[in-house]
Symmetry: C2
Subunit: 414 residues, 2 copies
């Protein structure tokens, strides 16, 4: 057996214990983890300092170094995050859809953990703790495979969580960190069919594509967002400008930020200067279709690939369309099924958009930036699913569960 | 573009129309399909006769020829099945989890179709109609890829459904049959990531394993069942014998049939002769562990692989265990997560089994044969999922749906 298979087998055994551990025990373990993060912060910071030294020596860009860096306040925030997960309702055990069949069988659908969840992620070490806390609360064992840049930090964090689990009377193997950060180890994890019930990639488009293309275990695809704001001819234009500003500029690096605005021809001449004015403070580059460039001299011509790009930056693709059908066709072709918004005062246009646009979240008169587990009231988020199977949109604790039918009989045969 | 990609693109367009078609229109199309099956039964029978001739000429086994064969009563049963699907409640459009957030956003989770569903299946042509009806009712376009033995029958059935769809005012491309039945076409379908939202294999273990191993599109794994009946020391033994008889003998070829009985040592001497007596009329072969063979002279020694085999026949693996923990460990090791049953009069043993056994359906004092969409009251069944993601156990119409968040705003920004 490989080292990874041994970890998988241990996680599988641990999961069987965790699945029936009960809310009190899981919450006690989460409290122990939160406390251990604070108590052992010096260990964590020392490991992180070693990662940072290596990263700087390897010439990592400052923005990435910042994502890798931990300090006392970031550790305190992780601990607080774990406490908040402990305070959420336990999704496990609820029985729904209970029916008494004509033959007397009592059949219910009981919510159970998925089992063993794999998480593949990149630089941020806080994912190690966030993801583990959400998996534990929902009764799942977790196998974490972080980026090599954060290995020492992740190792310190996971070891501390494993000790805290054991102190709380749960198997330490409920949390495991893959010890090999080579590309081969990611491939091996994607093929660990016997021990992984689901694999969730968290990171950039390249990572997610690689997992979707190569995994043989079931995957929940997360996070790539080419989101549109469609300004309908009956839009309140100042409202549209505020929504666009927020969707593009409040945090351009995240997946629910807007990348493209679609404008009805009837309002293009009025709206474009207004939008330019509202966004110019952030030096947003407008990459426009020919009509846009003709109206707005500050726009630069868009290239074909701009319509399909998640810029993650202060760049906005701008296209004038001939009406709602063209806008919705454009979204169907270029959207990634993440978040799409229409700005309109027209009732029928709003309903048509909600009905026909196929995305995890479809908005009328609001910013796409709200697509988020906390904003939607789920209390937590492990990622945003852009696939249709299992979970769609922000995933909270319930989305980390499965079900099993439990059947109470008195000797029934068929 | 390949022929399959062209079909995929057409299905994607058709799906956008079907997704918003409304219940009346979908039901009218289903009624038209049911009628067309009856009206055009001679076309269907002629195509089927050609398939049967070719199959016999190729030396197909009589049992398989029977699965392939259609007659008037089987066609009438297909039409009646389509009418029953039309009569089921439409799963699409319901909005759940609606919340008003503190910022005034109204957020709801609307049930929507999955999109385009691929079905890969083997000999039975009735799957062509059953699967299409369930997909249509749930608003999904479907790409069918049946076995080559049934190609002429499937072609007649699908063309008739496509004409009926068009007559009812829906795109004919809501239903498509892959025209190439080579192994390569199955592989191409498994990789059709741009046009398929989910792929469901229906057939034997080999087909399902091949799809799970090779597909790059999301898969719902169905149907392999190595199911156990565990006779606990506190079991009502005559009840256990009836349940075992039903689970093994009522239809041995199906996935919810039992393959293995586990016996507590305390009851093995009493139960084995009773079970033999009850099952001997069906000439069931008992393949036993050494203890079983020592007690029951009619048993033959089990080979290692018998503990992991879905016999699909009048063969039963029999093992004596030292108690419930050993039985549950054995099930965890050799079960396929389909259906597992305990027979016991002990309250705590029953609860422990329901809690700790990890399967789609877990029974106390009833036959595993009940794991079925109709028996569970779902009104229909497209297969039985043995995975944990998305759907688990019998899948009805709701399991062919996804969701999208719909958000009603008044200009909210974050």
């Amino acid at each position: 057996m490989t080292a990874l298979e041994i970890q998988g087998q241990a996680a599988r055994s641990a999961e069987r214990v965790l699945a029936v551990a009960g809310t009190d025990k899981k919450n006690a373990a989460l409290a122990a983890i939160a406390q251990a993060l604070l108590t052992h912060k010096d260990e964590i910071l020392a490991a992180n300092a070693a990662d940072l030294d290596a990263a700087r020596a390897a010439g990592m860009r400052p923005a990435l170094v910042d994502r890798l860096a931990l300090d006392e306040s970031r550790i305190a925030a992780m601990a607080e995050g774990v406490r908040q997960v402990a305070a959420l309702p336990d999704p496990i055990g609820e029985v729904t859809h209970t029916v008494r069949r004509p033959n007397g069988l009592l059949i219910g659908k009981r919510r159970v953990p998925l089992g063993v969840i794999g998480i593949i992620y990149e630089a941020r070490p806080n994912v190690t703790v966030d993801a583990a806390a959400l998996c534990l609360k929902s009764g799942n064992a977790v196998i974490l495979r972080g980026g090599k840049e954060a290995f020492r930090s992740n190792q310190a964090l996971s070891e501390l969580m494993r000790r805290a689990l054991e102190d709380a009377g749960l198997p330490r193997d409920c949390v495991a960190l893959v010890q090999d950060t080579s590309r081969e180890s990611a491939w091996a994890l994607m093929g660990l069919t016997e021990y992984l019930d689901v694999l969730i990639p968290r990171g950039g488009a390249g990572l997610i594509r690689s997992v979707v293309e190569n995994a043989r275990v079931p995957v929940i695809q997360t996070g790539v967002g080419v989101c549109h704001i469609y300004v309908h001819e009956k839009a309140d234009l100042p409202m549209a400008a505020e929504i666009l500003y927020n969707a593009k500029c409040s945090r351009p690096s995240v997946c629910n930020a807007a990348e493209c605005v679609l404008l009805d021809r009837a309002v293009a001449e009025d709206f474009l200067p207004m939008a330019w004015e509202r966004l110019r403070g952030k030096k947003v580059e407008f990459r426009g279709c020919p009509e846009t460039c003709a109206i707005l001299p500050q726009a630069v011509p868009a290239r074909d690939e701009d319509w399909d790009t998640e810029f993650g930056d202060y760049i906005l693709a701008v296209k004038v369309v001939g009406g709602q059908e063209e806008a919705m066709d454009f979204i169907a072709e270029h959207g990634t099924g993440h978040s799409e918004a229409i700005v309109t005062a027209d009732y029928f246009a709003a309903q048509r958009f909600l009905d026909q646009v196929d995305a995890a979240a479809v908005y009328v008169n609001a910013s796409t930036r709200f697509t988020d587990g906390f904003e939607f009231g789920l209390g937590a988020e492990i990622g945003i699913s852009t696939q249709k199977m299992h979970a769609r949109g922000p995933m909270g604790l319930e989305e980390l569960t499965s079900s099993k039918y439990v059947i109470y009989g008195t000797g029934q045969v068929r």
